[in-house]
């Protein structure tokens, strides 16, 4: 690759050069269109209450529970949401913006990924999972 400092790829991986043929260009375009078209079908729409949409600086998901639970239970859930939010801010949004939302079906996988990448403790992992699934 001409400029060593573009993108984070191993240098040895991008040294080969080939001409872009019309067939390859067509194949890449077709692949991109197919991937784009399949995204909405794969991204299963999730009910708002079940979706995980962490927002920086908020206690997402806690207000709804507060309305239906008893006072001590509600306070406990609010505390847990605060704790989860704190852990999210300190370990996840420190590096990247919070995604707009994602299916609750992958919340455990997201947390597992964060446990490894951010070296989360056991407690932080559990709180984060609870935060994504109030």
């Amino acid at each position: 690759m001409g400029d060593r400092y573009r993108l984070s790829l191993p240098l040895s991986s991008v040294e080969g050069k080939r001409q872009m043929t019309p067939t390859r260009l067509f194949s890449m375009t077709l692949a991109a269109v197919l991937v784009s078209a399949s995204l909405p079908t794969l991204a299963k729409p999730v009910p708002q209450a079940a979706s995980s949409t962490p927002q920086s600086g908020s206690t997402a998901g806690s207000s709804g529970m507060h309305a239906t639970a008893g006072k001590p239970q509600a306070k406990k859930q609010l505390d847990q949401a605060d704790e989860g939010n704190r852990i999210f801010e300190q370990n996840c949004s420190r590096c990247h913006n919070a995604p707009d939302g994602f299916s609750s079906h992958i919340s455990g996988t997201v947390v597992r990924h964060m446990r490894v990448r951010a070296n989360l403790s056991d407690h932080d992992e559990q709180e984060l999972l609870r935060f994504f699934n109030p």
Partner: protein, 335 residues
């Protein structure tokens, strides 16, 4: 094939929240550096799949094509393409303090390579000048131990230690090396300090030392990140500050979606032994960026940079758009 079979088996034993996911970024980048313009569409998909309670498979790939002008006064464009895996690792969660990683992994040196290199995270298109110092090929092939030593309300400490063997394989290039990193994080101050070490065990046997400091003042949208790395033949640092204008109507307002970024970096060449990927002369560079965070996980990245070196100064103009996706690898059934 084995990987695919393992994933299929995993579907029957994972919980509803543990559905394998596909994430990553799709981007189109443009860059004009010293009068030379190139265009790069790129897709970086990431697959993460838990298998049972203790095993986790993760892989990231890159598919890109770059159009750039031919050199030596020739007319027309050249094309460079790359399709391949960046890493493919299996993580074994042994206990609360230890996770073993086997396979191809991102070298855990300093902070950039592991945390900021994905195209949907980085505030700039290009890597810092010192990105190769201590990281070498960017990936290791072997084993790694990592985990949380202690996690407390007022402080937490985590560690990483790795050993990599040499690989000339196109998909998983790696150097023979070992190293590690220790991070101290102070949640109240929102301050992180990390120390990294890497020793290359082939060619020019070099030691690399790295320090990174990240600070996010509480209740602000300001992020300060920095890294300093010292090698046997060159040193360098980068400092980056970004501030999202969410004070003006919140993070989802028209103004609040803007994110100005500034990055300053320098490299210092000690001798002419070019074993570390840095330019053979001292370099200074300043980059100014205005990023815009559109709804639906889409970002527009624009930046201007000026690079100063004894071999010549030049401007770097970059624009790009990045879409980050994150969804289950297949439709999951509720339990």
């Amino acid at each position: 094939m084995v990987f695919a079979l393992a994933l299929l088996c995993a579907t029957k034993i994972v919980a509803a929240q543990d559905t394998p996911l596909l994430s990553g970024g799709v981007a189109f980048f443009h860059s004009t550096s010293g009068g030379s313009t190139d265009f790069t569409p790129v897709i970086e998909p990431l697959l993460a799949a838990p298998i049972g309670q203790h095993l986790f498979i993760e892989s990231r790939a890159t598919l890109l094509e770059t159009w750039l002008p031919k050199g030596n006064g020739q007319s027309g464009d050249d094309h460079i393409h790359f399709i391949g895996l960046n890493y493919l690792s299996g993580d074994f969660l042994i206990n609360r303090h230890l996770t073993l990683v086997a396979g191809s992994y991102l070298v855990p040196f300093a902070s950039y390579n592991e945390r900021l290199s994905p195209i949907w995270i980085n505030n700039f298109q290009d890597t810092p000048l010192i990105a190769s110092l201590g990281v070498n090929t960017g990936t290791g092939l072997g084993g790694m131990a990592r985990g949380s030593v202690v996690s407390h309300e007022k402080y937490s400490v985590d560690y990483t230690a790795f050993y990599s063997t040499r690989s000339n394989n196109l998909q998983f290039p790696a150097d023979r090396e070992f190293g590690g990193r220790v991070n101290l994080y102070l949640p109240v101050q929102r301050l992180e300090v990390g120390f990294s070490y890497d020793r290359v065990l082939q060619g020019v046997h070099e030691n690399f030392y790295g320090v990174h400091v990240w600070w996010e003042p509480k209740d602000t949208a300001l992020r300060l990140r920095s890294e300093f790395t010292s090698g046997q033949h060159a040193d360098g640092y980068w400092v980056e500050a970004d501030y999202r204008l969410q004070r003006f109507g919140g993070p989802d307002s028209v103004i609040g979606r803007f994110e100005p970024v500034f990055r300053m970096q320098q490299t210092f060449r000690r001798d002419n032994v070019a074993s570390d990927g840095l330019l053979p002369v001292d370099v200074q560079r300043a980059d100014f960026a205005i990023d815009y965070n559109l709804p639906h996980n889409t970002r527009i990245l624009t930046s201007y940079g000026r690079q100063f070196a004894s071999t010549g100064d030049h401007n770097v103009w970059e624009t790009g758009i990045v879409y980050r996706f994150l969804f289950p690898a297949w439709r999951a059934k509720d339990k």
